[in-house]
């Protein structure tokens, strides 16, 4: 396992999580893309050391070949995350068309309950004082 690839996985994951915690949709989507990249790269890390010949094409003569399964898995995962990212972008666009801003909104019912709870707490606080 190459230390550099492992480090890249870690950095991509960290950056992805950081972007995911932002309030604007476009950053969240970029964060998700970085997370997906880190997962795919991790699949490459677990497939064994770099530089081995591919399994098809007649390059593998007596040596160990590169494990094709994680590559297939990564390929599938890439296609899926590509499709989902496109869908997310269209959702974000729709959200921008409707709201004219790029922020994640609160749940209205949550806000109502938080409000009610807040009222009750402040009433109780006034009574105890």
């Amino acid at each position: 396992m190459s230390v550099v690839t492992a480090l890249v996985v870690a950095v991509l994951f960290g950056a992805g999580v950081y972007l995911l915690l932002q309030r604007t949709l476009s950053r969240i989507i970029l964060g998700l893309a970085l997370l997906a990249h880190s997962a795919n790269l991790l699949l490459m890390v677990v497939s064994g050391p770099a530089g081995r010949p591919p399994i098809v094409g007649g390059f593998a003569t007596g040596e160990q070949v590169a494990d094709p399964l994680p590559q297939a898995l990564a390929l599938t995962a890439i296609v899926i995350s590509f499709g989902i990212t496109a869908f997310l972008l269209s959702l974000a666009y729709r959200s921008w068309v409707l709201n004219r801003n790029d922020e994640v909104e609160d749940d209205i019912e949550d806000r109502r309950i938080a409000h009610l709870a807040g009222d009750e707490i402040s009433r109780w606080w006034r009574r105890t004082k």
Binding site: L32, L69, R94
Partner: protein, 497 residues
């Protein structure tokens, strides 16, 4: 025999393709959808009969030998789940066709619904961790579309949260698969069952808990459930109903499957029981605080997931048998409850408790259906929820986990309380602020509800009654399913040959 296992996946997918070709021709699309799901239902029943008689069935798609090829497996647990799920999917499809405005003007509804059906079937039948991921993505991608179909503002808002949470969960799933592959060199479930047992204890525990985390997000287990009551109520009712009945249960199915098959030596009993207790309590308390039928029921989805994890957490045959029976009961009951909500919404124009009232006179049929389904959910004898809860609680008593059993009993009481709250708000009393549709019809005149919607709901409630009526045989099947889950040698043998 191989056709029995592949039909549930291939037929809905092919039908989805045909349905796209018939884009804009609503009646053709409806015919394709109904035919495809009916075929799958018949197939699922045949598969269950076959598995019941001959034991675990498996097929290697593409004829690559077991650890490398794409494996489809059906044991009793997965074929039971498949039958109940497909029956529910069919009932909801009839309901959606009956409800004005669900598939009309939305030509993508039918193809996407069929892809979701294929995804659900594949996640029950797959014998491969990576194909489970693909099945999840099929189900989720179509659920994203169904949830946001129509593009109304609150749909986009809650849909965004739902998509983001699930994409994060899926990414974690890929990471989990990478770790599992890195540790063992295989993703075939049966092969993993053998190879994971040879790993050091620490690695086993880490993998087991990481997969529990991944599926826990999908199954909406405390503390990973926040997205669910927010996202589900905003979709059209048939969509919410099928999500409520199926999607979280697919997550629970995966938890049960991986915890029993992949990690036969790691038994994180205390952790599972703790999360089960919190899930039950937090879900039901959330439900009590709500004032809308859909939102109350959405919190109950979370609460009931706790019971399933409780049964699994005992890791005894009777506990897991209780879980299997409970999932079989929950899928139709939960869906039926959401469908009655849909009937109320269709008839009155609202599901808010204070805006609707007195429906017992105007729609006695809806009231009766709701009463049966909700009492079953609360666990009133002799309905199916009672049998499921009794089985789980008895298993809990014999495992001497009194605290979590006590919590489960208390939660049942609160469930009953919130069902009575809906009953008082919607079926008794008077509407304080009736919506336009309710106000426009006369004070005691019956509600206008299309027959197909009523019919689909009656069929599902009938299914829950049948699950209670045939409680003995179904519980016996669950027990046999649980035995083969606790001792996975038959499963492993059928796949690896």
């Amino acid at each position: 025999m191989s056709a029995l296992l592949t039909i549930p996946v291939i037929v809905p997918l092919a039908a989805a393709a045909l349905s796209i070709i018939a884009y804009g021709h609503r009646n053709i699309q409806r015919g394709i959808g109904l035919t495809a799901i009916s075929v799958v239902l018949i197939d699922a029943i045949l598969l269950l009969v076959r598995v019941e008689a001959d034991g675990v069935q498996s097929v290697q798609v593409g004829a690559w030998a077991a650890p490398f090829g794409i494996t489809l497996v059906a044991d009793l647990f997965s074929s039971l789940m498949l039958v109940v799920s497909v029956a529910t999917i069919l009932a909801v499809l009839v309901f959606a066709i009956g409800q004005p405005g669900v598939d009309s003007g939305q030509p993508v509804f039918h193809p996407v619904y069929l892809v979701m059906a294929a995804g659900v079937s594949l996640s029950f039948l797959t014998g491969d961790l990576f194909n489970l991921f693909v099945a999840y993505e099929m189900t989720l991608a179509s659920s994203y579309v169904l949830l946001t179909l129509g593009g109304r503002r609150e749909q986009i808002r809650s849909g965004m949260t739902y998509v983001i949470i699930n994409v994060v969960a899926s990414t974690l799933f890929v990471i989990g698969i990478a770790w599992v592959y890195g540790a063992t060199g295989t993703v075939n479930l049966a092969d993993l069952s053998v190879k994971i047992a040879a790993l050091p204890d620490g690695v086993q525990t880490a993998l087991s808990l990481f997969l529990f985390l991944v599926f826990g997000i999908k199954a909406a287990i405390f503390p990973l459930f926040f997205w669910l009551p927010d996202a589900y109520p905003t979709a059209r009712t048939p969509v919410t109903a099928v999500f409520a009945g199926l999607l979280t249960k697919v997550g629970v199915y995966s938890i049960v499957r991986t915890q029993t098959l992949l990690f036969p030596e790691t038994r994180p009993s205390t952790i599972l029981l703790t999360f089960a207790g919190f899930t039950m309590v937090v879900g039901v308390l959330g439900a009590i605080a709500q004032n809308d039928m859909k939102r109350i029921l959405s919190f109950h989805i979370v609460s009931q997931i706790g019971y399933m994890i409780l049964g699994l957490g005992l890791f005894t045959v009777s506990g897991i048998a209780g879980t299997v029976y409970f999932i079989v009961h929950q899928i139709p009951v939960k869906t039926a409850l959401f469908l009655t909500t849909g009937l109320v919404e269709e008839g009155t124009g609202s599901t808010a408790l204070n805006r609707v009232g007195g429906l017992i006179r105007r729609a006695p049929l809806v009231a009766g259906l709701f009463l049966l389904a909700s009492m079953s959910l609360a666990g009133i004898p002799p309905l199916s929820g009672f049998i499921g809860k009794l089985a789980i609680l008895e298993a809990g008593f014999s495992a001497q986990t009194y605290l979590v059993v006590g919590i489960a009993l208390a939660v049942s009481l609160f469930t009953l309380f919130s069902m009575v709250k809906i009953w008082n708000g919607v079926f008794w009393g008077a509407a304080e602020d009736p919506p336009a549709r309710l106000a426009s019809i006369g004070p005691d005149s019956p509600l206008a509800i299309p027959a197909a919607m009523n019919g689909a709901t009656i069929a599902l409630v009938g299914l829950t009654l049948a699950i209670a009526l045939f409680g003995g045989p179904i519980y016996e099947l669950s027990e046999r399913a649980a035995q083969s889950l606790v001792d996975p040698s038959a499963y492993v043998g059928a796949v690896l040959g």
